[in-house]
């Protein structure tokens, strides 16, 4: 079977790329799209996030209520989000309303009005969300780990909750207007649509809808790949929580395209298979020792930059020290002694078989087609990469683990009810 064959790649006459995939989806169309931009271009996570969120707060033609009623009348979902280097949107709509929804998306991208009153309300709402984030053990562990591994200029650096609050307080309507004027470039558009609609007709609708998007010469700031750092640790005590989120990480300095990536990815799957129970960490730290509900190892932050290795677990405070020790033991074991031939064979077969089932709905297929295009791949990557994984050897896995998973340099981040001693 081939997912790639379902996806048609079309260069839009008006600039940008459309990916159209046929998939029987009970009359729904899933849309995932993006244009260049995002937090690093804005120079502030919060400015980029508020810009994205304000797009649905009003345009020159319609106020917020009119946009809300238009979306509900179509039964559509639509949200704008920000990644470090892209402004993204994601939508679900029944095919009868597809054209209207695409026109609405282009309208909000072309001529948002950024009403001052709505900005003030949105800032209030975002302040509440940041307060929630400040108490979120997993979010805090993740943010702090990114600070231990990356410089602020790097795409994988996450803004702290406190800095987000400061940034938020300073944002004005004119900041949004100025940023918008330089942030939308129709040439950088990638739009992926999956559903049971007529592909050619959809292409015409996309071309006519997005034709008037402004073109801009956007220069995303460059960044240096992360350099390896020696071990550091940080623990955030958050009161009145019952479980600690614990993360171990190390920057790799490599991207997904690097020759070692498939072997490293497979090695991490053997250590801590994120979507299941067959990783070593789950088999020992959870199943045998009963120290956690979940413990996983996976490659992270590889979508637009050099990524990092992350091990994530949750522990009760009284099992925290034993849990940390057990995780570190398993990391050292796999690095020192390597994965076995049998493990590598089983995990690579599993990866390939899973790749056949994971995109079996329109939303996931639209997302995958979009994401690999942003990463610079063609749809054939969806079929080819699992085949490449099938050829990875135990020697390659173990060499990659030794090279990148340097246990002595791993940094630790924890958040929650950290025991005093």
């Amino acid at each position: 079977m081939s997912y790639a064959k379902r996806i048609k790649v079309l260069k839009l006459r008006t600039g940008g790329t459309a990916l159209i995939s046929s998939f029987p989806s009970h009359g729904m169309v899933s849309i995932v799209g993006s244009v260049a931009g995002g937090a690093r271009l804005a120079g502030s996570d919060m400015l980029a996030q508020m810009h994205a969120a304000m797009l649905l707060e009003g345009t020159k033609k319609r106020n917020k209520t009119a946009i809300q009623i238009a979306l509900d009348s179509m039964g559509a979902s639509l949200s704008f989000t920000v990644e470090r280097d892209r402004l993204s949107f994601s939508a679900h709509v029944r095919d009868a309303y597809l054209k209207n929804l695409l026109m609405l998306i282009t309208e909000v991208l072309r001529e948002p009005s950024f009403p001052t009153r709505e900005l003030a309300i949105l800032k209030e709402r975002t302040t509440a969300e940041l307060s929630l984030e400040g108490q979120d053990t997993r979010a805090q562990a993740g943010i702090n780990l990114s600070h231990l591994l990356y410089d602020p200029e790097h795409p994988n650096y996450q803004t702290s909750t406190e800095d987000s609050r400061t940034q938020l307080s300073k944002i004005s309507r004119s900041d949004l207007v100025k940023f918008h004027a330089r942030a939308i470039d129709g040439n950088s558009l990638v739009i992926s649509a999956t559903g049971s609609m007529n592909g050619l007709e959809l292409l015409r609708v996309i071309e006519s809808s997005f034709a008037k998007l402004p073109k801009a010469d956007i220069k995303i700031p460059s960044f240096a790949p992360a350099e390896r750092r020696t071990t550091q640790s940080i623990a955030v005590h958050i009161e009145d929580k019952a479980s600690i989120d614990y993360m171990l990480g190390i920057a790799t300095g490599i991207t997904k395209d690097y020759v070692d990536y498939p072997a490293l990815m497979l090695g991490l799957q053997i250590l801590g298979n994120r979507s299941g129970f067959t990783g070593r960490l789950m088999k020992t730290v959870r199943e045998v020792e009963g120290l956690t509900y979940g413990v996983y190892a996976y490659p992270a932050g590889f979508s637009s930059a050099d990524g990092y290795i992350c091990v994530w677990a949750t522990f009760a405070p009284q099992l925290y020290e034993r849990g940390r020790t057990a995780v570190m033991r398993e990391v050292r074991l796999i690095v020192d002694n390597g994965a076995t031939d049998i493990e590598v064979k089983k995990h690579r077969t599993m990866y390939e078989a899973r790749s056949r089932v994971t995109l079996a709905n329109s939303g996931d297929l639209a997302r995958a087609a979009h994401d690999i295009t942003i990463e610079g791949h063609t749809p054939s990557w969806l079929d080819d990469f699992p085949q490449r994984v099938l050829t990875v050897t135990a020697r390659q896995v173990n060499a990659a683990l030794k090279k990148y998973l340097i246990s002595g340099d791993l940094s630790e981040s924890a958040a929650g009810p950290i025991p005093k001693e």
Binding site: P24, G27, M28, L56, Q68, I69, L71, D72, S73, G75, A76, S77, H92, V93, R94, E124, R125, T127, A128, E129, S131, L132, E133, G134, Q135, Q140, Q232, I234, A235, V236, H237, I238, E239, D240, K241, A242, S243, N273, S275, G276, F277, T278, V288, E289, G290, L291, Y293, T314, A316, L319, T349, M350, A353, R356, V357, A360, N361, S362, D364, A414
Partner: protein, 433 residues
């Protein structure tokens, strides 16, 4: 005696079979991709637990991943290994009315997955040692849920809304009951409920009808039906006569306010209009509470929940209260808005928008066989596997008067439970590990 498999009916593209031991099988052929989805729904959830043994259904679900008669670590084919090595995405979940075990896998492996599900239905070998190692795992799952202020408030509201019915107890159970579980007691629970005549098997995907029939008979046909009748839970929640309320104080970052109303069971004719009412009130971009609370800056977010349950449940509205806003003020405004709807009714335009939104939600639930099979599992648990499909028909035909009738009937003060989680001052201290 040789097992027989009878076709009961075909509706909505799904064929229902009855196996002679009482197992019901639902089958849908979908050849879009060479994959198959499988789901076994046992009609046992936390509503079936006895006092002192809350959480048993959920712990048992964990233990059903331990060794069974033909699948074990010693043989090198433990259940998780067996499924995952073949490329299956798999897991299990426990809820108020049911426990379900599900897989999505390459179609050519569906026979192996069905064989495994049949084996653990009656052949699970869990023991004290399994329970001992799993206990801390379950406890950590419980602790993780304690980190989430929405879950904490939701549980408090349910335990306040219900005075008698087991829906008042969270599915994960009470901490003291979880810690007091024994393998012997769980075995008793397993022997009461895990039988083919208390289960529904669903198989959707690229599997031929002949293959499906052969696999069901071959793997489940030799299992006998229960030697006893399956225990029936008979507790009925008394009609609520006065408003209930609860308050919690925690350093959560934000305050949260919930208004909940007792709502009908999924098979009740009032359920669909109630679902539409909840959508009109808090389900979309332009819902009443979105406009009245969120768009005025009084709350960061509002959401509604109405679950299709076997017994009467709740319809709830939960607001994440704005930083400088009093939670009671938000609750008062929500209450006033709901009472206004009960008095004056909804607008025809509101019904039209809610209809479009719900039809999209239904289409989303049927996008891909993995999503569809789990949606059917919820209908199975609620008492009628066709509910998800008949729901669509009723949504399309719903009238304003039907929604107004249920608004008047259910949105009364005496039927209300109000819950507030007050945020107390939060603090963080950073140290090195």
């Amino acid at each position: 005696m040789k097992a027989t498999l009878k076709k009961v009916r075909t509706a909505y593209g799904i064929t229902e079979y009855a196996l002679s031991n009482g197992l019901r099988a639902l089958y849908k052929r979908d050849t879009t991709l060479p994959i198959a989805a499988l789901c076994v729904t046992f009609h046992v959830g936390s509503r079936n637990e006895a006092t002192g043994h809350t959480g048993a259904t959920h712990i048992l679900e964990h233990l059903l991943f331990k060794d069974s008669k033909h699948y074990s670590k010693a043989k090198g084919n433990s259940i998780t290994d067996h499924l995952e090595w073949m490329g299956a995405l798999m897991n299990a979940t426990t809820w108020l009315d049911r426990t379900n075990y599900f897989e999505l896998l390459p179609a050519e492996r569906v026979g192996e997955a069905i064989a495994m599900e049949a084996d653990r239905m009656r052949g699970s070998l869990f023991n004290d040692a399994d329970l001992a190692s799993e206990m801390t795992v379950v406890r950590n799952e419980f602790e993780r849920s304690r980190n989430n202020p929405y879950e904490i408030l939701d549980e408090a509201v349910m335990s306040t809304a219900f005075t008698t019915h087991p829906y008042r107890i969270p599915t994960i159970g009470l901490k003291e009951d979880i810690e007091g579980s024994t393998a012997a007691k769980l075995r008793e629970f397993y022997d009461q409920f895990y039988w083919p005549n208390n289960a529904t098997l669903a198989v959707f995907g690229d599997v031929s009808p002949d293959e499906l029939e052969h696999l069901v008979i071959k793997n489940f046909g030799s299992i006998s039906s229960s030697p006893h009748s399956i225990p029936v839970m008979t507790i009925i929640e008394p009609v609520q006569m006065e408003p209930h309320s609860c308050e919690i104080r925690k350093p959560a970052g934000v305050s949260i306010a919930t208004l909940a109303y007792k709502a009908p069971r999924a098979t009740d004719s009032d359920f669909v209009p109630i679902f539409m009412l909840a959508t009109i009130l808090a389900g979309g971009f332009s819902s009443r509470l979105q406009k009245r609370i969120v768009d005025k800056g009084l709350a960061a977010e509002i959401h509604t929940a109405v679950f299709p349950l076997y017994d009467p449940g709740t319809m709830s509205f939960t607001a994440t209260v704005g930083k400088n806003v009093k939670p009671k003020r938000v609750l008062d405004i929500m209450r006033r808005e709901l009472q206004a709807v009960a008095r004056k009714g909804i607008l025809s335009a509101e019904l039209t928008r809610a209809r479009e939104r719900i039809l999209s939600q239904i289409a989303d639930e049927h996008d891909g066989i993995f999503s569809e099979i789990r949606s059917v599992s919820e209908s199975v648990a609620a008492g009628d596997w066709t509910l998800g499909y008949t729901f669509e028909d009723r949504v399309k035909k719903m009238k304003v008067s039907e929604v107004n009738k249920v608004a008047k009937k259910y949105l009364s003060t005496s039927n209300e439970t109000a819950g507030i989680l007050f945020d107390t001052l939060s603090s963080q201290t950073k140290t090195t590990i």
